[in-house]
């Protein structure tokens, strides 16, 4: 999956199958196929160039019950918010825009 931050707010976002950036990791598109990954990255690059997002990265993901989540603890924390302020993180307000 591709993770990034919105330029204007810094909000963590994930590239979805609809080519839009979503605040929830479970809306992220995942792929293993090289050419699909290249297409996804091309979209991310276009939005970097269009100044919509910054700091895009292709990251490892896992699927549990068909729901995608990043694999690494760092990206899980990015997706959900700090593990120590669960009252303020994305867990409570996934649509929070920054």
């Amino acid at each position: 999956m591709i993770i990034a931050n919105r330029l204007d707010t810094g909000r963590v976002v994930f590239l979805g199958a609809d080519n839009q950036w979503h605040t929830q990791a479970d809306k992220a598109i995942t792929a293993t196929d090289e050419t699909v990954l290249e297409d996804l990255w091309a979209k991310a690059q276009a939005d970097l160039d269009a100044n919509i997002i910054i700091d895009a990265q292709l990251i490892a993901a896992e699927k549990n019950d068909h729901v995608a989540m990043p694999s690494h603890i760092k990206h899980i924390i990015q997706a959900q918010g700090p593990t120590v302020r669960t009252d303020l993180g994305y867990q409570v307000s996934p649509d929070w825009e920054g």
Binding site: N5, T9, K74
Partner: protein, 551 residues
């Protein structure tokens, strides 16, 4: 406190306007991220894991009540209602929007605050003793000279792009509470035979992946020559410091490579140039700055206060709070009061907007409108009359700010770690919380006595683990958070580097490991021997053996 003059005001306001323009151009796409990044960093704006992070400078850790109120207002209006006080005596906001940052900076400028010198390879915000201007052991208040350094270093064109960031710390007391030997330049205030103020100059200290304790290159430089001497040090470093390798670019590497003596000679030579230029500030200007730091008019009062003693006799926690969280003041009958930001169920260094407002009110009502931020991530009311302690305690208790642990094991330095920081390898905050929970009992804490535990989530060492009596370093072991223990560090006048004990521990093992280390101390200590003294006497062997078994 220092008050901005028209120059200060003009340059800070101009900076806000400039940054507003830069943000607009970035949003419109006229600036690329590559072009914009150094601009935002020069205004304290980082990108962290979840959002942008704004680091606001608190020069030499001094704030007024109104400034504290403004910090609270910013937390409320532009962030999620809290802020994090750091080991650089600054405050960080974790959730600001890029588009609102210029408004935040404008609101800060209204109360003479800013976010410059909190990032980038410049001379950073100067830090000092959080009890400056109040401590009984102090020779003189170092803040006038800290302010002079602030004025000299702010937007200094020659030193805007140094090989690496550059940190200066200054202490006015022989008991070093500013960790000066761990800074790029450390200054220790002294008086010469004629009673004139000057400084011992220490260079090349630093933490990070190569911890080094600074070395003295001059025993005494008069305060009137200080700026030209600092300028000479910076010039030698700027010219000769390495720019080819980020990890070898700090001044400590240069001083180690050349040797402190050679480095000192180069500085002396350069100083012959800088001191003959009109850089040094005339005595009249130094005197003008001093007038802003005139001590508050405190009445000499009784040092023994019945109301405090009576309460302490019947309330162990209050007695601990008085014993641990107060520091001897110059004026009898007064103390400097540490407001611990280390509640046992909270996050080290965090304060809510409401708590900040409470502290601001207390500062106005009880401490001549002054607050300090300590590098140990606490807040200080520097000038408190002892007979008002009970009243203040009750107000702090209501705000969740009366933890009695200053200087004890749970008064930990804890960096933001992987919960917030993009550079982190491991989380620090939950480990800090687990340790605080384990050592929650005040009687036990008091029995263990003075112990500084310092924790970093990566080798950048923002949590000062190299200087911890117990240091904890978070590492990434094959994708899993892992924690190494170090022992025997000190950030004080007896500065020492903590020694790594051995392989790290998993998150669910590290608290037990800390407890094991503490148990060895309790078993081995001689009467009245502190943890650090015991480690120095025993060496690390018995601790290693307890953790890893006999070799």
């Amino acid at each position: 406190m220092y008050a901005y003059d028209t120059y200060d005001r003009a340059i800070i306001n101009a900076r806000v306007d400039e940054f507003r323009d830069q943000v607009n151009r970035r949003i419109k796409g006229e600036l690329s991220e590559e072009e914009f990044r150094p601009m935002r960093l020069q205004n304290g704006l980082y990108l962290q894991l979840h959002a942008y992070m704004l680091r606001v400078a608190v020069p030499y850790g001094t704030l007024s009540g109104e400034q504290m109120n403004r910090l609270a207002h910013i937390a409320r209006r532009y962030d999620k209602g809290y802020g994090h006080f750091t080991t650089r005596q600054n405050i960080q906001y974790n959730w600001p929007k890029l588009v609102e940052t210029p408004d935040i900076l404008a609101e800060l400028a209204e109360v003479e605050m800013h976010a410059v010198q909190t990032s980038g390879n410049c001379i950073r915000n100067v830090t000092t003793d959080h009890f400056a201007g109040a401590a009984r052991d102090e020779i003189a208040d170092p803040r006038p000279i800290a302010e002079l350094i602030r004025q000299w270093s702010t937007f200094h064109p020659e030193f805007a792009f140094l090989p690496r960031k550059f940190k200066i710390a200054i202490t006015g007391a022989p008991n070093d509470r500013a960790a000066v030997k761990w800074h790029d330049i450390g200054l220790i205030l002294k008086k010469d035979g004629a009673g004139k103020i000057g400084f011992e100059v220490i260079v090349g200290g630093g933490m990070g992946r190569t911890p080094v304790i600074g070395k003295t290159i001059r025993d005494f430089i008069p305060e009137t020559d200080l700026i030209s001497y600092l300028e000479a040090i910076l010039r030698v470093y700027n010219e000769q410091g390495r720019r080819d390798n980020k990890y070898k670019a700090r001044i400590k590497i240069l001083v180690e490579a050349l040797g402190a003596d050679v480095f000192a000679d180069l500085v002396e030579q350069e100083w012959q140039n800088t001191k003959n230029n009109p850089i040094d500030v005339p005595q009249a200007e130094i005197d003008r700055i001093y007038t802003f730091f005139t001590p508050p008019p405190l009445e000499v009062l009784e040092d023994v206060v019945a109301v405090v003693d009576e309460k302490a006799a019947s309330d162990f926690v209050f007695a601990s709070w008085v014993a641990n969280n107060t520091h001897a003041h110059k004026v009898p009958g007064h103390v400097s009061l540490t407001i611990s930001l280390k509640p046992h169920d909270g996050i080290a260094g965090d304060a809510t907007a409401q708590q900040m407002d409470v502290v601001a009110d207390l500062a106005r009502d009880y401490s001549h409108n002054e607050v300090r931020v300590s590098h140990e991530q606490n807040l200080i009311l520097p000038h408190v009359a002892k007979h008002q302690l009970l009243e203040i305690y009750q107000k702090l208790e209501l705000a969740g700010l009366a933890t009695a642990n200053a200087g004890l094991l749970t008064d930990m330095i804890v960096c933001p770690g992987l919960d917030y920081c993009a550079l982190a390898n491991a989380r620090s905050i939950p480990i800090g919380q687990a340790i605080a929970k384990r050592f929650d009992d005040m009687k036990r804490l008091q029995d263990i006595g003075p112990l500084k535990l310092k924790m970093s989530g990566c080798i950048n060492s923002c949590g000062h683990h190299h200087a911890g009596h117990i240091g904890i370093l978070g590492v990434d072991r094959r994708g899993v958070e892992n924690y190494q223990i170090l022992l025997g560090g000190s950030g004080e006048e007896d500065a020492s580097k903590a020694q790594l004990l051995g392989p790290g521990f998993d998150a669910d093992e590290i608290v037990d490991a800390v407890e094991t280390v503490v148990a060895v101390y309790l078993g081995e200590r001689r009467e009245a021997e502190t943890f650090l003294s015991a480690v120095r006497r025993l060496g690390v062997a018995p601790f290693k053996e307890a953790l890893y078994g006999a070799a």
